[in-house]
């Protein structure tokens, strides 16, 4: 028996094929060209003919799959799983919230913007995408590991946390070090000393303040840290855009007065 899905997609196949042949004959196709995919003669307008024929092909693919899966009805699933119809599982178990869709989207968007902006941005997007693909896959894996959601969660944490935490820590430190170095290199010599002193003092005083008040809510501490990190990163980006201060080689541009590698900066 032909399934409803088959009828739909086969109908679309017939419509697309008919339209392709019609377009072929009315746009300069020869007698046999449009019917033989151009094997024996011209097909007429290639764009219209080609796209309509591909639409017919994809509709055919969906029609065949639909027929062979019996429209993927629950009844067909029951037969495959050899269970009663009432025991057919839902198509998706409850998965709850997940950060990976957003991060994967960010990876894709970063890659896309990188295409326009800079290869470095593209590469960053690619790395984000690969990392999120692995995280996403392992999340899916853990959800199907056992029938106990708590245990599945533990399994995932046990497997991924020992990798995630050191990697994220390294990446985070790397970003901060690069950002701070850009800030210090962009400032004058004296300015850099002042920035290092003032920022160091602020960090020290903030840490002292927090340690003296253990009752401060977790959210406030997280907020202070987030603002601080964001400030460093944003300043680092602006500093990198402005560029480093001028460095003058001691003894001239090409060391004409000696071989010294010493530099003097202002």
């Amino acid at each position: 028996m032909l399934t409803t899905g088959f009828k739909l997609w086969f109908g679309l196949l017939v419509a697309a094929f008919t339209a392709a042949v019609f377009v072929g004959y009315t746009t300069g196709g020869t007698e046999t060209g449009p019917l033989t995919l151009g094997w024996k003669g011209a097909v007429g307008n290639h764009i219209a003919y080609g796209i309509l024929m591909m639409a017919a092909t994809t509709s055919g693919l969906l029609a065949i799959l639909s027929q062979s899966f019996r429209d993927a009805d629950a009844e067909a699933a029951a037969e495959i799983l050899e269970v009663d119809i009432d025991e057919v599982p839902e198509a998706q178990i409850f998965t709850g919230s997940s950060p990976w869709p957003l991060f994967t989207a960010l990876g894709v968007v970063t890659m896309a913007v990188g295409l326009v902006a800079h290869p470095f941005v593209f590469g960053t997007g690619l790395i984000i995408l690969l990392v999120t693909a692995i995280e996403w896959t392992m999340t899916n894996w853990s959800e199907r590991a056992t029938g106990d959601p708590e245990k599945n969660h533990e399994l995932k944490e046990g497997l991924l946390r020992p990798i995630e935490i050191p990697v994220l820590g390294l990446v985070g430190m790397g970003v901060l070090v690069v950002a701070v170095s850009r800030i210090l290199l962009a400032a004058s010599v004296l300015g850099a000393v002042w920035i290092a002193t003032v920022v160091g003092t602020i960090i020290f005083l903030t840490a002292y303040f927090i340690s003296k008040r253990p009752s401060i809510p977790r959210g406030v501490v997280q907020g202070i840290l987030a603002v601080g990190v964001l400030a460093v990163i944003v300043s680092g980006i602006f500093a990198a855009i402005n560029g480093e201060r001028d460095f003058h080689h001691v003894g001239g541009e090409h060391g004409e007065h000696g071989d010294s590698d010493m530099e003097e900066d202002h």
Partner: protein, 193 residues
């Protein structure tokens, strides 16, 4: 004392395959449009008595090698699906790894050919379409390889049994469509020029 955990809930069969079929049909339409533009402009260029690709610019061997590589990968992909269906873990690993290696080999050969071809992308419409079509196909193969890699991750985690056969079957639908598209590239770009 060892704790016996309940088994994972059953998966509803075919969901992943149906989703993959929709995505694959979209990919086919994408290439359908690119090929249609290719044929359209090629036909017009030749009708004006102009050259499409410069003589000897497109070699037959790299395309043929790629076609052979991907043809073998069809067999290894089928082998992977068969092995998973029969709970044959070792063969499933082997077949999935081999298929991914074939994909990487194909990417490698194509990139090498790009460096060797000596046809700049802005040489003509023909060159542009050549790089866009084959480049887009390389991306498709690359996605397939990553997909196989992620499948292997899950397989190493124990999800390589007949309970999870849809995972491999869905990947195989995608992989076969990748090879299907390459047949067109091989026939009409490398052979038909």
């Amino acid at each position: 004392m060892a704790t016996i955990l309940p088994p994972a809930p059953l998966n509803r069969p075919r969901t992943l395959m149906v989703g993959t079929a929709f995505i694959t049909s979209a990919a086919l339409m994408f290439f359908g449009c690119l090929f249609s533009i290719y044929f359209s402009i090629r036909s017009d260029t030749l009708a004006w008595g102009m050259e499409w690709f410069p003589e000897n610019a497109i070699e037959l061997v790299p395309g043929g090698m790629n076609m052979a590589t991907l043809s073998i990968s069809v067999a290894t992909m089928g082998w992977a699906a068969y092995a998973v269906k029969n709970d044959d873990r070792i063969h499933a690993y082997l077949a999935l790894i081999l298929t991914a290696v074939m994909g990487i080999a194909m990417i490698n050969q194509t990139v090498f050919y790009y460096m060797d071809i000596g046809l700049p992308i802005d040489h003509s419409e023909a060159a542009l379409l050549l790089y866009v079509i084959t480049g887009a196909h390389l991306v498709m193969v690359g996605i397939g390889v990553i997909w196989l890699g992620l499948l292997l991750l899950r397989a190493f985690g124990g999800q390589d049994t007949s309970r999870h056969r849809d995972l491999v079957s869905a990947a195989s639908i995608y992989w076969y469509s990748t090879v299907f598209i390459y047949i067109f590239i091989w026939l009409f770009i490398y052979i038909g020029k």
